[in-house]
Subunit: 216 residues, 2 copies
């Protein structure tokens, strides 16, 4: 069962976040038919040190070749395996508003191992409608759909006031990971993975940086 994941619990969280960025960069080099890459180059492309890159990758195994670097195609496969995206994940979306429709239109999912397979909305005025390739389903269909399609990931694109309620419904229905776009802090059990993106928070961080970056 447990082959080359020696110490899952001692891996720094920042290292895992960077792993996704390494992968994105590696895929770019792969498109350019670059066969091999050094930790130095990989680091430079993301403004990191070479040591940082090597240390990060070494948490998961020995993927490099001294004197040569990392084989791009091989490392991509390894990183995907680590992140769990070597297999395809079915994903559902709740919220057929502006943001939800943007998600439905996003063509980049499948290349990264994700498959948007169902869209829900609580508003009866929206359910039944055909938006792009999707028919918007009512919330009652949540549980059966999740089970039938073995969905573990959900994207939450509903108004702030409903986010916690819908999150509860999703977890109740068996979802294991939640990507939340509503500007609220969700109260989520320990065994459910969650991740939030708040547009206003992002802009605030820029505002702060600009306001305090006068002297350089």
């Amino acid at each position: 069962m447990n082959m080359d994941s020696p110490r899952s619990e001692s891996i720094p969280d920042p290292a895992v976040r960077r792993l996704s960025l390494y992968l994105r960069q590696l895929e770019e080099w792969h498109r350019q038919n670059r066969p091999t890459i050094s930790s130095k180059e990989l680091g430079q492309s993301l403004s990191l040190t070479d040591a940082q890159v090597r240390k990060d990758l070494a948490y998961f195994g020995q993927f490099g070749h001294p004197g040569i670097g990392y084989h791009v195609e091989d490392l991509i496969a390894r990183v995907r395996r680590i992140l769990g995206t070597d297999k395809l994940w079915n994903v559902l979306l709740v919220g057929a508003g502006n943001l939800g429709r943007a998600m439905m239109g996003y063509r980049g999912f499948s290349a990264k191992g994700f498959n948007l397979v169902a869209v829900f909305d609580a508003d009866p005025a929206k359910t039944g409608a055909k938006l792009g390739n999707f028919t918007v389903l009512p919330m009652e269909k949540l549980q059966p759909t999740i089970q039938t399609l073995d969905i573990r990931l959900a994207i939450l694109a509903v108004p702030a006031d409903f986010a916690q309620i819908v999150a509860n419904q999703l977890i109740e229905a068996g979802i294991k990971g939640l990507l939340n776009f509503a500007p609220v802090s969700l109260n989520i059990p320990e065994n459910i993975a969650t991740n939030s993106v708040d547009l206003a928070v992002q802009l605030e961080q820029l505002s702060f940086q600009i306001s305090t970056l006068k002297n350089s």
Copy 2:
């Protein structure tokens, strides 16, 4: 080496990120007419320790009252001042695709101190069209618009292949902060603030967490 900005440079980045979350939570309590809040409660609402909250706020000043806590309305004003969102920021958007249109439709900007004032697209088929309240402008209008409206923040919602090019144009035209939704690592000068949101990266992180969270 000795500079006269006492703490501006020694504030941990994670503390600044949490500041935005504190603000969001405080605003929620303010809507509920909660007059005062303790570091304990504020921490619990975000799964942080009370000491963490106090230490974070103390980087910026002494805002609390021993025995009582923090005055909600006052602290909101203080935090907004710190983040720079006590004044309104004009923001522009590049990219009138799916995601761009979602941004145009987002009603939550102004309450947080941001004002979307102009939308651009490189595609001549899109420029001139009226989308919602916005007329999509061609890229040639970038520089004059930025200067006329004193825009310092930009949201980048263009395809990956164009992100770097457009980023360069924006910086050239005087933009100081950049919120990038394209799945690429931008190469940006030191004195420009930047922040990225990559949907696939977010999902990958969830995938990893779920895959390695079996034992709990």
